[in-house]
Each structure stands twice: as C-alpha cells, then as structure tokens.
Amino acid sequence: MLTYNVTEPAIELFGITPYGMTMKSPKTAPELVDQFYLHMRSALIETAAAFDRIQVADAASEVWQDPRLVELREAALIIAGDQPERARQILELLSVKEEEEA
C-alpha cells in the first residue's frame, strides 16, 4: 500500500502526491460536472435498466443471487459512498481473490 507522505501545501503548489508529479486536471470540479454529467447519468440508467430487464424475465429468481449481480449491487454502494478511488475499489471487488483459484 502506498503511504501518504506529502503535505497539503505541496499538493496545492506543485501537484506532488504520494504517486509523484501528477497532471492535475486544468478543469474545475463544476466544469467537470458539466462535461461528464450526462455520461454519468446514462451509465447509471443503463445499469438500472439491465437489472430491471433481468428481474422481469423468466427464471429471474434463479439468477438474483448470482455472485456477479451481487457484486454489482455492492459496487453501487461504493459509488454512493464518500470514499475516493471508487473505480479501483470496484475493480478490486470484481477481482479473483488471492486465495481463490482462477
């Protein structure tokens, strides 16, 4: 695990993070919301609609506890949370665990 060993002013002034020199986005958060809101909205609605599609299909009860769908519901909780690095957390959730056979 990487350790955080730089100060907030260093991040502000030089873009230095625990990972080294970064390419801090030139865009502000409001600008990024304007740029990505419709894309985010679409991705969430597509996922919700796929769950609906599965739920009303024949034999839906057989797959409702499918580990893949269970993990996607857990992933939705990660998105809704406040912790950063949501993409990394979801990818780790969807990965074979160390002790599991591939």
């Binding site: 390419m23 740029q35 990505f36 990818l91 990965s95 591939a102």
Partner: protein, 270 residues
C-alpha cells in the same frame, strides 16, 4: 502531431484500419504476438505466424507510410502445454535478431496457472539472455489483479530485471499503482467495453503523471478499434491539457520505451 500505436494486431484487421490510422497521423505501430482466436496445431504454425508479422505486415503498413514493428513470443493462452511452448521458444531467437522485432512479447498470464507461469519465466530468461525489451499482457477482467501481482512479484524478486525495459500492458486503476511504483512502464488499453475508457485513461494520467505511461488501442479480432487511441488523445485535449503533454503521452513516451534497443526509428521531439 504524430501518433504511435504501441499495440495492434494487424493480422486481424483490414487494410481500412491502416488507412484510418494513417489519416489520423499514426506513423508507427507495434504488433505483439498473440492468441489468434484458436489454438495452433503445431509449433510450425507459430513459425509461419512470426514470419507473417515480421515480414508481410510491414509491407502492408508501408503502403500507408506507417513503420511496422513486432514482438515475438508464445502467448499465455497457448502456454499451458509446456513441451509445445518450449518448441516455439527454441526458434524465437531467429526472429528476435531481425531489425524490426522489438523484443519478447506479449508474454504474461491468462488464467494464472502454474504452467503459464513456467513459460512466462522461461521467456523472461530468454529476453534477458538476448538483451531484449519485454512487453507483458496482464490477464482479463477478474484475473487481472492476481496475475499482475504474480508477475510483479517474480520480476521484482528476480534481481536481474531492469523495470525500465519492461512494459505491463492492459493496466487499470487496481493494477497500475503497484506496477508504476516499482519502476515499470505501464500501458493502458482503451477498449469499447472490457478495458479502459478514454476518460479513465486520462484520470490515471492526471493521478500518476506522464512518466513511464503509454496508451494503446490493442485492436484485434474482438470488439476493439484503433481509433480509441485517438479518442483518448482528444479526451486529453478536451480536459484542457497542453499540446506538449499530449505529444509526450502519445508520441515521445512510446519513442522512449520502444527506442531503447536502437531498432525503433521514430525519435522523441524533445
């Protein structure tokens, strides 16, 4: 601005892709050896394949003013049969000595099995013996994290591998940090569904910087498109980054990694 495509399987693409890449200012491409969608029935079939990507594809590319380079290996998906794999490895040096062959790749893991790991290690040794660059395929989807850790542990523990001469491909948010931290080059593949999106690639660049970062489209016989590389370049510009940074990521960085043996002709602009 010139563009380099560090990973594309042109044996699986049409001439229209060469034309499109040329129109989008792609000046050089690299073709790692891979699984062609079916298992070859003999080692000789690999000899034919290596001949195709090292001799015929460069002639197709040249018609569009694109320099074509390739990598040679037995891919991880066909490495389960150790004896078969060793027969293929036995004639790899003949190809690695060619002027347009950049090194050993794309080696790696598929389902993270013991036999895949044996052949991965033997090909790393061949690369070291012949002073070659190494291009690594990290596994798909749920197997990526475990397989990446297995290969990283081996290479770091080996003691004789210079990470500056090794590129891990298909990295994502959960694998890139540990690989980049150890000094390896990290390539991010942009796919329509199963790997990175252009947006996520630029997120990673903003977080980890430009050093030792590469982007590719890995066009092959499945859902993929060489133009996703250029979509990512456009995304970087949309996000407000300078032309100099864009050029570093899409041209100068691949020039630096691929140019270490002196075979790769394009030169960095800075």
């Amino acid at each position: 601005m010139k563009i380099i495509e560090p990973h594309v399987h042109m044996i699986a693409r049409t001439v229209q892709d060469y034309e499109r890449m040329a129109r989008m200012h792609t000046v050089a491409i690299c073709e790692p050896a891979f699984w062609a969608g079916y298992d070859r029935t003999s080692p000789q079939a690999f000899h034919d394949y290596f001949t195709h990507i090292s001799e015929f594809e460069p002639t197709r590319a040249a018609q569009y003013l694109i320099d074509h380079y390739c990598w040679i290996c037995i891919n991880p998906k066909e490495a389960e049969d150790v004896g078969f794999s060793r027969e293929v490895i036995s004639f790899m040096p003949e190809f690695l000595n060619k002027p347009n062959v950049l090194g050993v790749g794309e080696i790696g893991l598929n389902k993270n099995t013991r036999n895949e790991m044996i052949i991965f290690e033997e090909q790393v040794e061949l690369a070291l013996q012949m002073d070659q660059l190494i291009w690594i395929h990290t596994p798909h989807l749920q197997d990526k994290l475990k397989g990446s850790k297995m290969m990283l542990d081996y290479l770091v523990g080996h003691g004789g591998v210079d990470p500056a001469r090794v590129c891990f491909d298909h990295t994502e948010e959960h694998t890139l940090p540990m690989l980049h931290e150890k000094g390896f080059w990290c390539a991010m593949t942009v796919y329509p569904v199963t790997k990175n999106s252009p947006e996520r690639v630029i997120d990673l660049v903003e977080k980890f910087g430009l050093d030792r970062m590469i982007v590719d489209a890995s066009g092959d016989w499945g859902p993929s498109d060489p133009a996703t590389l250029h979509d990512t370049l456009f995304q970087m510009r949309l996000r407000g980054h300078s032309d100099k940074s864009v050029e570093q990521l899409f041209y100068n960085n691949p020039c630096r990694f691929l140019g270490q043996l002196g075979k790769f002709k394009p030169q960095p602009t800075d």
